[in-house]
């Protein structure tokens, strides 16, 4: 299982790894800038970047671990892994640590982690594995079966936490992977029609199920100037940060929106705004291009996968990053509602970084092992 042969080294996806590590380093530099204490009088609590460096090292090791075996194994253990994931989500719901008005954490002694971060990958593995059993396009019953047995339970658990961001990501991954798997045209048409009819009802149900802060975010997205110091505050401050960067940026460590605490969650969800303020249009375009390259490389990996499982796995992971990227950057730019999801590899957060690296590990695995036949 843990053989390393020359062919694996040759086929190793250095590009993806390089992009991801480069983004992570940019991320750590930006976290440093965002959390620096501009006034000397304040107690230095800016150890975020050090923690992030430690997590990066752990993450790279985990990534290597997840490349070292053929990903086909993941398909074989998909079901137990998935069930474990569900149980973890359930535990969080029952006895989770509350953070930001939502229960997302499980404490294991000194460590605490967010099972939902790892669950996404488990979900993708489960879905890809299930879809790879048959080469037939999905009909209505097939789709409904998948929806109820694989998607619905975690969606409800996540929605209840509430972790709206991850819940939506799960739905989007389900939709995109299903499309990639192949649906009959009439099914697609039917879903679109039913969706449009039921949208008002669904919207209503969703709306009443939302917490106040979630509702406020949606209101603020539609009308950010309603209350600039209140619910529209995040978006306005984020736009000010990005816009004031202008073409060349204010320069590294010269941003003011983040460290002076105008911008909330500056080192987590709004880290792109901090970066854009300091590096301007030039730097932002460069950073965004890295993400584009990563996503395109992921799609390429999917198209080169040796089997359906690998292809769907690579697509699922790529779509996941894609969703995170567009929703997060769109949010900081004020063209998407504020959904509390981080920017992969940039945002501060150990669990997210680790799970992202594991996902990238799996993605690289699919590419690296595309020639090895191991049945």
């Amino acid at each position: 299982m843990f053989r390393i042969d020359r062919r694996l080294i040759q086929n190793f996806d250095w590009l993806t790894l390089a992009i991801v590590i480069l983004i992570s380093i940019i991320g750590i530099l930006t976290i440093f800038s965002a959390t620096r204490q501009p006034s000397a009088g304040e107690a230095a609590q800016a150890s975020f970047y050090i923690k992030q460096i430690v997590w990066l090292i752990i993450s790279i090791l985990a990534l290597i671990l997840f490349i070292s075996f053929d990903y086909v194994w993941l398909g074989r253990i998909a079901l137990p892994v998935y069930v474990t994931g569900l149980i973890l989500l359930l535990i969080v719901l029952i006895s989770g640590r509350t953070g930001m008005g939502a229960q997302r954490w499980i404490s294991l002694g000194p460590l605490s982690f967010q099972p939902s971060e790892f669950f996404k990958l488990m979900f993708i593995i489960m879905l890809s594995n299930y879809y790879s059993f048959s080469r037939e396009s999905l009909g209505v019953t097939g789709l409904l079966r998948v929806f109820f047995f694989i998607v619905f339970i975690p969606f409800v658990l996540l929605f209840k936490q509430p972790d709206l961001g991850t819940a939506i990501v799960i739905l989007l991954i389900f939709a995109s992977v299903s499309l990639a798997k192949g649906l009959y045209k009439k099914v697609i048409i039917m879903i679109v029609v039913i969706g449009m009819i039921s949208l008002p009802f669904l919207g209503n149900i969703m709306w009443t199920g939302l917490k106040d802060y979630q509702k406020n975010r949606l209101i603020a997205f539609i009308e950010p100037d309603v209350d600039p110091a209140g619910i529209g505050y995040h978006i306005n401050q984020s736009k000010i940060a990005i816009g004031s960067g202008e073409f060349f940026g204010k320069g590294y460590l010269n941003g003011t929106q983040g460290p002076f605490r105008f911008l909330p969650e500056k080192h987590t969800d709004f880290i792109f705004a901090v970066f854009a303020e300091e590096w301007g249009f030039v730097g932002s375009t460069f950073l965004l291009s890295l993400y584009l390259l990563l996503i395109m490389r992921g799609l390429d990996t999917a198209s080169k996968a040796k089997d359906d499982f690998g292809r769907l796995l690579a697509l699922g992971i790529t779509f996941m990053f894609c969703v995170y990227f567009f929703v997060n950057v769109g949010m900081t730019l004020g063209i998407m509602p504020v959904v509390g999801i981080p920017l992969p590899f940039m945002s501060y957060g150990g669990t997210a970084l680790l799970s992202n690296y594991i996902s990238i590990g799996v993605l690289i695995n699919v590419r690296t092992h595309r020639f090895s036949l191991f049945y």
Binding site: E246, F262, A276, L292
Partner: protein
């Protein structure tokens, strides 16, 4: 796996969609950073830049001997930033700040207009409270301590009317361009010299341009235009005299003005009762304000310049000067049998058994009414009026602070114009002894006695030390006249039978004149009269007699006899003034 053509197609479609999304993001970035970048850059600047006015330290006010009368004292205030404050901490914080919980809750929730505007919770924290909070900073997120400066009046109410007090800008003042450089919450002088010299005392405020974070906390100082400290001010007040005089008044109502003989500088100015300017220093409390405003003794009235009283027998000085100047011989005598008839009306002398035969000197020493009835009748009251005006009575002295009253010295022309009546001979009689229409303020009487004792120089009184005196006029009287009067005034205090014996001092030779001004027409023994019907007691004095350095006027409202009520006050003020400066500093507990 080349057979999977539709799969490749799907991936191609996905790529195009992703590229489209990427383009949208780039366009948005273009819009924010390049099209609207300038605007956002400005917003981010104003986000983080604050211009904080820096109040200038207020000038210190000294007495004439360099004794500081005020101090700028820092005090601590507790404020919170509502955004960061947890309401669950209210009960705990209420205990720490010693504020009732309800009041604190109300303060915090009332001004919930913006979570980024600080709310002041308490002013004037004790050191214990400050150190308790500082040691437990982390217990109270959003709570911070600010330092403000207040004015401390070192001698409390002593000299309150002269020194004045500070207050916030009134609505009228905040529109006045004169105060446009005053920060909105700053205190400015609203009374006394604090008001009169506010412009120079308050200095020029500076500015600090600072970087702040989202909750307004200072991050870094970018630029500082230092404030310019207000100019110090040396008053002409002698705080030792001032204190001695106020102490001498005890609880009584009245006024005292003491002037420097050679310049007219005010050495002391008392209006009793006064108020405590320290209670205004951090903003006057409604309770104290109501207490002052409802006090029947009207503490906010500066009686020294804003109240006028009949001068009573102190006015005989003027009548005496008029008589001597108009040809009455000092040796000419009048026989007092306790009263004088004018027609059928008898004008009594205060001494019922009469003074016997008296000339000018004895008449002044014993304050014989009958002598001055005759003197007034001899020269006519129009003449007396002219001399009164010559010595500064009947006109505002121009002392400069507060609304001064002019007093009244009547004459026949005034009576005809104002009252549309002729002047009756009896009016000459009573006005000649300072009753009737005659009314003067304590400051006028001080100017008068000063001019009489210093050779006829009527000076404009000044509350600050002057480089040179401001002479209003030199009284056109013969030096011998003034010498005769001064000799008599020395006798009032120092000769047997003198009415001002209570002002006799063992340390300095004082000259003076008592006055007892009738409040109601019937004259009875003042002991048995209700206080509001008792006579006002006057005493005007100067010392030392041979080379005067100080002139004083004292009025005690409803004090009874001038000799017993007012003269001791003048004496104590004069004695305090004559002390060596070092001794004064010791008395006032001055620390160098």
């Amino acid at each position: 796996m080349q057979t999977e053509k539709p799969e490749a197609q799907k991936i191609a479609i996905a790529s195009y969609l992703i590229l489209l999304g990427f383009l949208i993001i780039l366009l948005r970035l273009w819009q924010l950073q390049l099209l609207q970048g300038d605007e956002f850059r400005k917003t981010s600047e104003s986000n983080r830049l604050r211009i904080i006015p820096v109040s200038a330290p207020r000038g210190i006010i000294f007495d004439r001997n360099g004794i500081p009368l005020v101090k700028n004292t820092p005090y601590f205030c507790a404020s919170i930033m509502p955004e960061e404050f947890h309401n669950a901490n209210i009960p705990y914080l209420a205990g720490v700040l010693h504020i009732p919980e309800d009041e604190l809750r109300e303060k915090i929730n009332r001004k919930a207009q913006s979570p980024f505007t600080p709310v002041r919770l308490k002013e004037g924290l004790s050191y214990d409270e400050v150190s308790y909070i500082e040691a437990r900073r982390s217990d109270f997120p959003g709570l911070f301590i600010e330092i403000e400066v207040s004015r401390e009046y070192l001698y409390g109410g002593i000299g309150a009317h002269a020194i004045g007090y500070l207050g916030k800008l009134t609505p009228g003042q905040s529109k006045d361009p004169e105060f446009k450089d005053v920060p909105p919450n700053a205190f400015i002088g609203q009374w006394g010299v604090e008001k009169l010299y506010d412009r120079s005392l308050r200095g020029t405020p500076g500015q600090r341009i600072i970087e702040v974070d989202a909750i307004g906390r200072e991050i870094r100082l970018l630029k500082e235009n230092p404030s310019v400290k207000g100019a110090d001010l040396s008053l002409s007040i002698d705080i030792a005299l001032q204190k001695a005089a106020e102490d001498a008044f005890e609880e009584r109502t009245g006024a005292l003005v003491a002037l420097d003989s050679d310049s007219g500088e005010i050495l002391g100015i008392v209006s009793s009762p006064a108020f405590d300017p320290n209670r205004f220093a951090k903003g006057v409390s409604p309770a104290y304000w109501n207490e002052i405003m409802n006090d029947k003794k009207v503490p906010m009235l500066n009686r020294a310049i804003q109240s006028q009283y009949p001068p009573g027998s102190t006015f005989k000085i003027i009548t005496a000067i008029a008589a001597l100047e108009e040809g009455v011989s000092a040796s000419a005598s009048v026989t007092c049998s306790g009263g004088m008839f004018l027609g059928s009306h008898r004008f009594g002398c205060w001494k019922k058994e009469g003074h016997g035969t008296v000339s000018l000197h004895r008449a002044l020493v014993e304050s014989c009414d009958v002598y001055f009835y005759n003197a007034g009748r001899t020269v006519g009251f129009d003449k007396v009026h002219d001399y009164a005006l010559m010595f500064g009575l009947g006109e505002a002295t121009g002392v400069g602070f507060g609304k001064e009253r002019k007093g009244l010295i009547p004459n026949t022309e005034w009576k005809r114009k104002e009252r549309k009546e002729p002047w009756w001979p009896g009016e000459t009689v009573i006005n000649s002894i300072g009753q009737g229409y005659v009314a003067t303020t304590p400051v006028q009487m001080a100017v008068m006695i000063n001019a009489v004792s210093n050779g006829g120089n009527v000076y404009k009184p000044s509350i600050v030390k002057l480089s040179g005196p401001v002479l209003v006029r030199k009284a056109a009287v013969k030096p011998e006249t003034l010498e005769l009067v001064k000799k008599a005034l020395e006798g009032v205090v120092n000769e047997p039978g003198g009415t001002g014996h209570a002002a006799h001092s063992n340390t300095v030779v004082i000259g003076g004149k008592t006055g007892t001004a009738q409040v109601v027409g019937i004259k009875k023994d003042s002991k048995y009269l209700a206080e509001q019907h008792r006579d006002h007691a006057w005493f005007v004095a100067f010392a030392p007699v041979d080379k005067p350095k100080v002139a004083v006027s004292v009025l005690v409202e409803h004090g009874g006899h001038g000799g017993s009520a007012a003269a001791p006050i003048a004496k104590q003020a004069i004695e305090a003034y004559m002390l060596p400066v070092e001794k004064k500093k010791g008395l006032m507990h001055v620390q160098d």
